[in-house]
């Protein structure tokens, strides 16, 4: 089965609590976070979801990761439905988002073993996989330090490694370079490129245009929960857009005009 990730006409609506309505300064009791959103990501490519804060990027990725369910539509990860067989989907995805935290009391070493077992990784493969990933992200030096005592960058590196314990075919990273120093951010983007070259399907969300331009093969721009554009960077340039930034701000202005 081809390792394609298909998002088909998904819609997600959230109920807003009184507190949330107050924060968002709205009387609406519901908020449509994602509406009729579709896109496809293929093996051997990095697909970038670009959009401003609150556009629906994280909601989309959370639906792919089976943390939340779409109200309408469906998502197929390697042909497997997130609605019908979420456990099968989870076996095949590596998901990383800022909302996924590691427990302070444990060391990266312990947590790597723990999540490897939960993902059903063979006991004999765990040390090999751990050595590879820890070397890749430079975790070896602090693998026995409790998460509580790690810096933000170290925690992010550990989270990255732990999200990949099971060598998944689909890698879904939400703002993977957020809060990282330049060196760590580069090691992350380099690794994503390596994963793409290995034939994995990589989807990232970001609001940093330069990251998209640098590593993404195709880009989808989400504004107000809707997919405005989904194409390769080169194709967008061929269509006459000066650069991604110009396109992005044009689409943002369009969104504002419609409101």
């Amino acid at each position: 089965m081809e390792q394609i990730l298909e998002v088909k006409d998904v819609k997600k609506t959230f109920h807003l609590s009184r507190k949330q309505r107050k924060i968002e300064k709205t009387d609406q009791k519901k908020k449509v976070a994602v509406n009729a959103l579709s896109f496809t990501a293929y093996p051997g490519e990095i697909y970038g979801l670009l959009g401003p804060n609150g556009a629906g990027k994280t909601t989309t990725l959370r639906m792919i990761a089976t943390l939340i369910k779409p109200d309408e539509g469906d998502i197929f990860v390697g042909g497997t439905s997130v609605l019908k067989t979420p456990i099968e989907v989870r076996k095949n995805i590596g998901f990383l988002t800022s909302e996924l935290k590691l427990e302070d009391h444990f060391t990266p070493n312990y947590l790597f073993d723990y999540f490897s077992r939960l993902h059903g990784v063979d006991e004999k493969d765990i040390p090999i996989r751990k050595e590879n990933l820890f070397n890749q992200f430079g975790i070896t030096d602090f693998q026995e330090v409790k998460v509580a005592d790690l810096s933000t960058g170290m925690k992010q590196k550990a989270s990255l490694a732990i999200s990949l314990v099971h060598d998944p075919d689909f890698i879904i990273f939400d703002e993977p370079t957020n809060g990282l120093d330049v060196l760590t951010a580069k090691s992350v983007t380099d690794y994503l490129i390596q994963l793409r070259d290995e034939g994995k399907t990589v989807i990232i969300s970001t609001h940093i245009l330069s990251v998209v331009e640098k590593i993404c093969d195709r880009v989808g721009i989400i504004i107000d929960g809707k997919m405005k554009v989904s194409d390769s960077y080169d194709a967008l340039v061929d269509k006459g857009y000066e650069d991604l930034e110009t396109l992005f701000f044009e689409l943002l202005e369009e969104g504002d005009d419609h409101e």
């Binding site: 943390l67 590691l102 427990e103 009391h105 939960l118």
Partner: protein, 397 residues
């Protein structure tokens, strides 16, 4: 390895690898009970010793020598002073500032009045006693002095009327079963305390294990792994149960070691051994089933709560209900005989513990309790699993 076992091992390791948690969740409950009850016991014993070893300071007027003989023949020490010159104000002052424990005044012709009881003009002699009931030595002195006065009165009446004064004699036989009597002492105190400590043990770690994971954002990391939500729920419940059970055992040992000191029962230390292996096994089963239920409640509430603080607040009503059930049962002294009583969680624990401790346990009641609690725990884990699957409960800020 089963998924729930992986979760269980990690949750268990979380506690046993943290010295502070081991101390606060497991060692402290037993230690606190032992120290608290031992101090209380020592204080009570010390107070009693202090009073009984105190030399009673008696100021008197015209005290007959034969009555004084009754006093001095008792186990208490006395210091006698002539109080004939004291005014009532002075007596009050001396009782107030503990210079005097008791004042007793006999009529100056007391002995002669006693012998003239046949005289038509005879009036019953008045013996005046003044003491201060708000002062411990004085209050105790009154008991000693009045007790001796009763004995003295009886001896005078016996001299006057001989055997005729004795209306009847009574023969009293106490057929007490020492083990059962001791068991009833335990049964009046232990069940409520055990339930309280089982709850507080589960409350000390449960909210952090589940609501804490939600609050810190670590539960989402767990939820993207390919294991069933029910396996997560079972793993957490079992690990919390084992740790809570350790906490309960610690409390139990603390109580057993400190009760003899608290109750000033010199030979109770030996009497703790009145229970056999089967009794302890039944207690352990009851504790285990109760811990399962309590952990189920704590886990369910913790899964629902957004924060540790909210979980703590939501669990409190259940805690108070369990204490009320415990208190209401502790004065009864006997276990319920109705079968339905063993279907109600916590109430069944209290009744079964009373039954076991008083050697009155029924196997049917034990089996009913095990079945009932198993059903409740299964239902609680089911609801907990449903909550783990609810986006609203798991991710709403």
């Amino acid at each position: 390895m089963n998924s729930w076992m992986i979760v269980f091992k990690k949750e268990f390791y979380r506690v046993i690898s943290d010295r502070r948690l081991i101390f606060t969740a497991i060692i402290l409950p037993g230690l606190a009970i032992y120290v608290m009850y031992s101090i209380m016991g020592s204080a009570i014993t010390g107070e009693v010793d202090d009073i009984t070893s105190h030399e009673i300071v008696v100021y008197h007027e015209n005290m007959p020598s034969d009555y004084q003989d009754y006093l001095t023949a008792s186990e208490r020490d006395f210091e006698f002073h002539d109080g004939s010159e004291l005014s009532s104000d002075t007596i009050d002052d001396m009782l107030g500032n503990t210079e005097m424990d008791i004042y007793i005044a006999f009529p100056d012709d007391f002995s002669q009045q006693l012998t003239n009881y046949d005289d038509p003009s005879y009036t019953i002699p008045q013996v005046e006693i003044v003491y201060n009931s708000g002062e411990k030595y004085s209050s105790n002195s009154y008991s000693v002095i009045s007790g001796a006065l009763n004995t003295y009165t009886n001896s005078i009446l016996y001299d006057r009327f001989g055997d005729g004064i004795v209306a009847f004699q009574s023969s009293i036989t106490d057929t007490v079963d020492e083990s059962r009597a001791t068991g009833q002492v335990f049964a009046s105190i232990l069940p409520m305390i055990i339930v309280m400590f089982l709850f507080s043990g589960a409350m000390s770690i449960g909210p952090d294990s589940i609501a804490g994971e939600k609050e810190r954002g670590t539960v989402a990391t767990l939820l993207v792994t390919p294991i069933k939500r029910s396996q997560i729920a079972i793993g957490k419940v079992i690990s919390l149960t084992v740790i809570s059970l350790f906490s309960a055992m610690s409390s139990f040992v603390g109580i057993l070691l400190s009760l003899p000191k608290l109750m000033n029962m010199d030979d109770l230390g030996g009497n703790v051994n009145i229970y056999g292996l089967s009794d302890y096994a039944m207690i352990l089963i009851v504790l285990l089933m109760t811990v399962f239920f309590i952990v189920g409640i704590v886990s369910l509430v913790s899964t629902y709560a957004k924060t540790i603080k909210e979980a703590g607040m939501l669990i409190l009503p259940f805690y108070f209900i369990s204490i009320i059930v415990g208190v209401s049962s502790m004065f009864n002294g006997e276990a319920a005989t109705e079968l339905w009583a063993y279907m109600i969680p916590i109430y069944n624990t209290i009744n079964l513990l009373i039954a076991i401790l008083t050697f009155d346990v029924s196997m049917i009641h034990l089996v009913v309790m095990i079945i009932a609690n198993s059903i409740y725990v299964t239902a609680l884990i089911y609801f907990m699993t449903q909550m783990f699957q609810s986006e609203k409960i798991m991710f709403q800020k």
